[in-house]
Amino acid sequence: MSDPTSVVTGTPQVSDDRPARRRSVLRDLLRRPGFSIPAAVVALLAVIAAFPAPFAGLFGHGDPTACDLTHSGMPAASGHPFGFDIQGCDLYAQVIYGARPSMTIGIVVTAATLVLSITFGLLTGYYGGLLDTIFGRVIDVFYGFPFMVAAIVILTALGSHSIWAVSGTLIAFSWPTMTRVMRGSVIATKNLEYVRAARALGASNTRIMVRHIMPNAVSPVLVLASLMVGGVIAGEASLTYLGVGLRAPSISWGIQLNTAQSYFLSNPSLLVYPAVFLCVTVLSFVLVGDAVRDVIDPKTR
């Protein structure tokens, strides 16, 4: 965020040694257990999402579509550590396979939104003028629709319930918030002494934006992004609840949570297991995000 330090003390903060910094960032991160543990969890989840079969098969019943209605809702048994869901499918296998769409949507949407909003935020905040005005109006148009409503309308009109349709919709309604915050942050940063100093020294606009403004302006956005992943996954679950997100026969935590809601009181395990996995996922992302921000934010070095 803004750093009025230099206004008071008048010392420009111009950074220079890029390659060494990059290596040391990674080393710094790995040295912290606050990063390495959750990052390991995230990595594990990513592997599960990419290759669910071996993990699902750990207890011998790895096919989430082998469902027998006579086992509906039954509790844990040998070979079925989580028991069965309403359809009589192995709940453990379902939860493992559910990681894929949820992780995919969470990561894709957050990454895309981050890229878009950093870019747009930098451009509109730095250049201002007509570009900023136009973007401002476009953002306003997106704002005018509350997210849920607009998402429902768009997904109903699209008619598709694929991961990409849902991701696209979630991205479309996430980038305005983040861009606005980024823009505000950029505006507050760009007038600082050291930026003016850099410009006076003849640095090009791009260099200024990327090397000086961005690292200082980016931390609120990173905080938002690390918070976003869970929100995105929960957003997908909400859209599914309203009937416009992913749909069976897809397998995702969102769908599992929705189904579990109708059978909440008679079969709480249907809710607990996907919720726990969801919780752990979000927690890991947030911790990773926090650690990354702690390290790369120049003010806390």
């Binding site: 005018g144 629709f145 409503v149 929100g231 809601q261 927690l283 003010k299």
Partner: protein, 323 residues
């Protein structure tokens, strides 16, 4: 490459002209948004009149035809839009497909939603900011950990799960709050739904405040002031807080606009007949005029809220007012 325009940090637009400029810019946005909504809603696949039957009943084909005629659904889309705008210019938001006047739908739903949104917002600000400050001041200690853990939990568990759980836990089992509906009036009926609605925003606000405060506290000027021996509380309140609140204000402004129309899930669970509820049902029934009418209103509200946030932002941080 030279940037468009020139960034002259010391040039400021007088407040009045700034407000006027932004207000005028609102108009094309509102028009654009309305047309987009209209086009998308009326281009939705499926027959809205059939939707009235909902799959549980049968409506005679002759009646379906008569209703389609009545609502101009057999006209091509541009013609429908023109007729709709014609009505709008006369101040007539039209009738929805159930025969209810859209303006009366809005007139009833709006106060309810406003109460819910305001209550949620107050909760977010009154609890979120102090919580974030507390956590930021006690960085690394139990309070901080607690706040971080709690907020993460809020993000991880989907809002409708929280909603149903709270309803059962606090409404039925403990009996602290009414379970559903608005029959107990404001604020009693609105407290629990507003809490659930505001939980996400509260968590975000708390985290954002904490992060921002932590950063500001470690800034050079604060450390300098501390070193100079100024009282800690005065430094925090007079210097650090104001600067650290800037991103929080930005977020809260956006959040408030979102609260106004986005409470679809909460209004459904707690049976609150507000705008989110109306518009959700309208979309499900493909009740075009209602969707367009309510959305238009929401667009306008949002634009106004945005303008106010920008003005507030300008007041808090004088460097920004030239945009």
């Amino acid at each position: 490459m030279r940037p468009f325009g020139r960034t002259r940090p010391t040039e400021k637009l007088p407040m009045g002209r700034y407000v006027l400029k932004r207000t005028l810019l609102m108009i094309p946005v509102a028009v654009g948004a309305t047309f987009l909504i209209f086009a998308v809603v009326f281009a939705l696949p499926g027959d809205p009149i059939t939707a009235l039957a909902g799959g549980q009943h049968v409506i005679a084909p002759s009646v379906v035809d008569a209703l389609r005629e009545r609502y101009h659904l057999n006209d091509p889309l541009p013609l429908q839009y023109v007729k709709y705008v014609g009505g709008l210019l006369h101040g007539d938001l039209g009738e929805d497909f159930n025969g209810r006047a859209v303006s009366s739908i809005i007139a009833q739903a709006w106060p309810t939603t406003a109460k819910l949104a305001l209550t949620a917002f107050v909760i977010e600000v009154a609890v979120g900011i102090p919580l974030g400050i507390w956590a930021g001041l006690r960085r690394g200690r139990m309070v901080d950990a607690g706040v971080l853990a709690g907020t993460t939990l809020v993000f991880a568990v989907p809002i409708f799960v929280i909603g149903y759980t709270f309803q059962i836990l606090f409404g039925i089992n403990l009996g602290w709050f009414p379970v559903a509906g608005v029959s107990d009036g404001w604020p009693v009926s609105y407290l629990l739904p507003a809490l659930v609605l505001g939980l996400f925003g509260l968590a975000t606000t708390a985290r954002l405040t904490r992060t921002s405060l932590v950063e500001t506290l470690s800034a050079g000027y604060v450390r300098t002031a501390l070193a100079k021996g100024l009282p800690r509380r005065r430094i925090i309140v007079k210097h650090a807080l104001r600067n650290s609140l800037i991103p929080v204000v930005t977020y809260l402004g956006i959040e408030f606009g979102g609260l106004l129309g986005g409470a679809v899930l909460i209004e459904g669970i707690f049976n609150i007949p507000g705008m989110g509820f109306e518009i959700f049902n309208a979309i499900k029934q493909q009740n075009g005029p209602a969707v367009v009418g309510i959305s238009t209103l929401l667009v306008l509200i949002f634009l106004v809220v945005n303008l106010l946030v920008d003005l507030l932002y300008g007041l808090l941080d004088p460097r920004i007012r030239h945009v």
